[in-house]
Each structure stands twice: as C-alpha cells, then as structure tokens.
Amino acid sequence: MNVADKKRLLREMLFARRFEERCYEAYVERKIGGFLHLYPGEEACALGVLEAARPGQDYVITGYRDHVHAIKCGTDPKKIMAELYGKETGCSRGRGGSMHIFDVEHHFMGGYALVGGPFPLAAGMAKALKMQGSDDIAICFLGDAANNQGTFHETMNMAALWQLPVLFVCENNLYGIGTRIDRSTAVVDQYKRVAAYNIPSAQEDGQDIEKVYKAAKKAVDHVRSGKGPYFLELMTYRYRGHSMSDSNAYRSKDEERMWSNRDPIIMLRDRLIEAGELTKDDFKAMDTEILDEIEDEIIAFAESSPEPRVEDLEKYVFAENDPWVYGGGR
C-alpha cells in the first residue's frame, strides 16, 4: 500500500465517520426514522477488506449496519442519505431504509435485518458465480453474534463441502445488542469455530486498516484462486449504542476508553503524520472538505428529493401484476 492509498483510505474512513455522525443528527432531528445502526469505530473493517477486493465487482452482502459497505462498493452517498430520508431518489427508492441499502449496479447485494440471514445468500451467490465461470467472489460481512444462528453452521458446511468462492468477514465488536460475547457464545474466538468445517481462517486487529488490508488480501487471494471459502475475524468495537434506541450503559467506561484509544482513523492519521506524509492542517482541511460535502451535497440532495408517491404503494411487489386474478396485484 503506497502513501497515496493510505491517504485515500484515511479520507474514506473519515468520510464514513462523518457520514454516520450526520445520520445520527438527522435521526435526532427526526429526518430519519426506523432503526438506525451506525458504524463509527468499525470503519477499518469494511474499508480495509474491500480495499483488498474488487469493490463494485465482487458481490457484497451484510446485515443492517450497512451504509459504509455500500459506500465502498461505489454507491453514491447521496442516494444512501436519500434512502434514510425515505425519498424516491434513495437507492432502494425509500422502500428499504437504513437496514436495507441495495445497489445492484455496484454489486452491493443488500443489507438485511434478520441476524444470520445473509450467510446462505452469500454462499448461493458464490455457487452461481462459480457455475458461471466468473472469478468474482462473494463477500459476507456479519457480526459476532450472528455466528450463533443455525445458518452460520449450515452455510459453513456447504461452502466448505462445495469449495465455494465466498469470504466471510466477522466484524467482532464483542456484543450482540446488550449481551457480551462471552455470555452468549461458548467459543469466544470466532475464527476457531470454522475449523470444524476445514475452512481456513484468521483473526486480525480490526482497528488497524493496514493490518486489515493485509489479512484481507491473503483471504481474497485464497478465495479468488479457487481454493474455497475463507473466514476472517476482525476485532473491533462500535462506539455508539447498538442502534439509536440503545444507550449503551452495559459497557464500562474503561472498556470504551481502551477502544477509543485505538481509533482506526487516529491511528492511521498519526502514523502518516509521524512519517512526515501528512500534517495536522492537511487532516483538518480534509475534514472540513468532507463536512462541507456532506452538508452541501449529500444532505441537500436528501432534503430536496421527492417522497415516493402513495399511488406507487403496490409497485415492486411482483415483476408484473396479474390484476385479473385475485391476489395478483393491483
């Protein structure tokens, strides 16, 4: 990774941070509704892994904490914000909201609300890609607690059995809502769990984007070269509550402080400053530019976009309606 790449990744992480923080504000202002799960603290995971893949071409799927993954795949952040505002110009036309960002053009195959749901879909995409002779791969990002669903084990078995080109990335932030991992999970190190299926795996520091990138490169190369699935566990932390309706009181201040001392953005920033590749002022300028872009372009776009039309309520239920039979759509 050269200096220019590192600076770009720093900017991407900072953008992701600011974007999510602005979502928080918009939620408080009641511009955004429903459930909102934010990504601050975990930026290096999605951005570092996808940096090592072919974002926009490889097929990416994840849970409800999905904005940053979509952005890295190439989804226009304006369309994501518009989606959160429920607007017709949103990437899911206002039908999906925060948990259901979809951008098929950029092969971002969605955010899903049910924990563990995406595992088999990722394997299914991998199977189809392999059958098509493509060297694109499927990449599935999910949380630590998702590994307790049956779909995890069932999918690992099939992915290994059929040597499917799928990379599983576990964003281990130590909690599933308010339950700490050791209270829900018998084996706390997630990368060990796939050994039962002979799936190669690794555990890496998810706060250091350079390490994430390196580990992901190895993982992606493995999967793309036809050697079957790979499981990468990234140790990370979410700064905010699970969602907007969670105040986070179940975690100790010490624990939170320990993790904020290992902030992915600050760590890379300081490293670049130490190496003489970046100044504090450069970083400040970068931040200002990002904040302006978010306010002047992204929020402005979401604010000024039209709502979906109520007449279109029944659009997109079926490919086409069969109104002559009862239940066939209007």
């Binding site: 607007k87 899911s92 039908r95 049910l114 599933g176 829900s184 999970t185 179940y250 239940g327």
Partner: protein, 342 residues
Amino acid sequence: MKRSHNDHAGLIAPASAAAELQVWEALNLALNEAMAVDDAVFVLGEDVGVYGGSYRVTQGLYARYGEWRVRDTPISEGSFTGLGVGAALVGGRPVVEIMTVNFALLALDAIVNMAAKLRYMSGGQLRVPLVVRMPGGVAHQLAAQHSQRLEHMLMNVPGLRIVAPGTPQDSYWQLRQAIRHDDPVIVLEHELLYFDKGTFDHAAGAPPLHAAAVRRPGRDLTLIAWHRMVQVAQQAAERLAGEGIEAEVIDLRSLRPIDLPLLRESLGRTHRALVVEEDCRFAGAGAEIVAALTEAAFFDLDAPLRRVAAADVPTPYNGELERASIPDVDAVIEAARGILPA
C-alpha cells in the same frame, strides 16, 4: 415504536401492581407472579436477563430469579425455542420470548412441527406447557423485515392456542393463564402497545383465556378487531356516533380459538359487521372470521361481511407509504358506510 433505554432493567425492581399500568408492566407483573408461585416457570430469550428485555417485559426478573430462570440466549431462535419445547416435555414451564414475530419465522420448526403436534402424535402422552411471547405489528418505519403480523400463519396450525392481548388487564390475565395452560400458547403482543397505559384491577377475576370482549356496545354494526386495531375501531365508532350510528366494538383477544358465540350474538343484534385487521388482506385472519361467520350466521346478515385490512405489500420504510399500507380510522368509516343502509 420507541424502545426505552433499559440497558440494566434486569437488575432493577420489577413493576408492581397499581390502578393504572402500562402493558409491559402488566406482562412483567404476570411473569413475576407466575415465577414466584411455580419454580418450573422460567424465561428464555435474547436480552431478557441483564438487559431486561427489549420492551422491559422481564425487568427485574434476572436479579430476582437468577440466570437459570431468566436465561439470556444466543441469537438462535430455532434452537432456543426448540429447547423450550424440550424443557416443557419433562415438567418445565418455559416462557420463550422471541424479540419480534419476524424472527419467529426462524422458530417455526419448533413451534409448528414440534410444540403443536406432540400431544397428538404421542396419542396424548405428551404435553407441551410452553408459552411463546412475541411482539409484532407495524411500528414506526421499521421496514418490511421488522413490521410483519404473522397471526394468520400460526392460526392455520392445529394444536396452537393464540392469544392477542391489547390492554394491560388482558396482558396480565392472558399471560398468567397461558403459563398455567398445559398446551402451547402463543402470546402475540403489539410493538406499539407496550407503553400504553390502562386501568388495572389486580383482584378482578379473569374471563376465559379465549373469550372476546365488547369494548363498546352498539346496535347498528359490529367492528371486530384485536391489538391496536381495537383502538382504531373505537375511534371510528366515536366518529360514527357523531352521525347517529352506533357501532359495537369487539376486541377478539384470541385468534385461535375464536369466540364465535360472542360474535354471533353481536351480529344477531347488529346484522352487519366489519373485521378491522392490521395484517395483509389475502388469506389473513379476517378471512377466517368472515368465513366462519358467513357459515354460522348468514341468515342474520343484512349486508355482506367485509374486511378492512392492510395492503398486500411488504411494509415500506417511507412513513407516508407505511401509513397508507395499514387501515386507519377513515378507512374503517368508509367501509362502514359501504355496509350501512344509505
């Protein structure tokens, strides 16, 4: 829906009885009392322990009864519900909390293939005193995977009892009764009702588990509803009363079995009825109610039975579309006009 911040609710005091309670408090009281009188009763579910439940229903129980009786589970709906079935087979009285009905789809094997069938398949040897509680309904912009009302799916399964309390009083009674019952009982709760306040009489005797209740007497037509739609029906009835039309509002309270005798008695007086349901129209609960009433009381009717139901769409995120997708007071009034004499 606004979840309250209840990160440690499991460790604070549970709710106590009062002349007014919120729905979650009434459920909490019912659980607490059931656990106090019967050591076999235990609670199982995601974040029910230390956290105190997503809607506070298990507040204080973890501190009082400990982790064996208030068990935080992994996110493994299929298997922890199955575990509930297993425990029920050998003398446990588990109360499984599934965070929302949407996730209960992952537990259908345990509920439908197991809990519902074991008494029958074993020729009456086994009993499954299992309660599965779960909130459903359209809340506020939670989108398609978090807004379902799946009562119709469960209603079609012989062997399941399904209750749908909508008030604090019913929530208390019906949960107590469900826990005492030797059959599997699904307790459907509504996400928007947990923080509704209502009068509460701790000493009042409970009606039968499956009895419906007349919430507002009337002579001109019968509005049949459950959960939040009872409130919508009541508001519609008040507006109709302004025009001199007296609608009777019945809170079904139970979806299997259904209190057909009470519905027939009402229809015998009003001769007209509307089912108001939050779920999608096609093959919904309303279809069963209308069919059963048509078969049982056709000659009492002065107008066709109708349904006011949700649009047959996955629930959209956008707030306006979401509102348009489920019945409101206007829709009930319009449908009522359609079956009233001109």
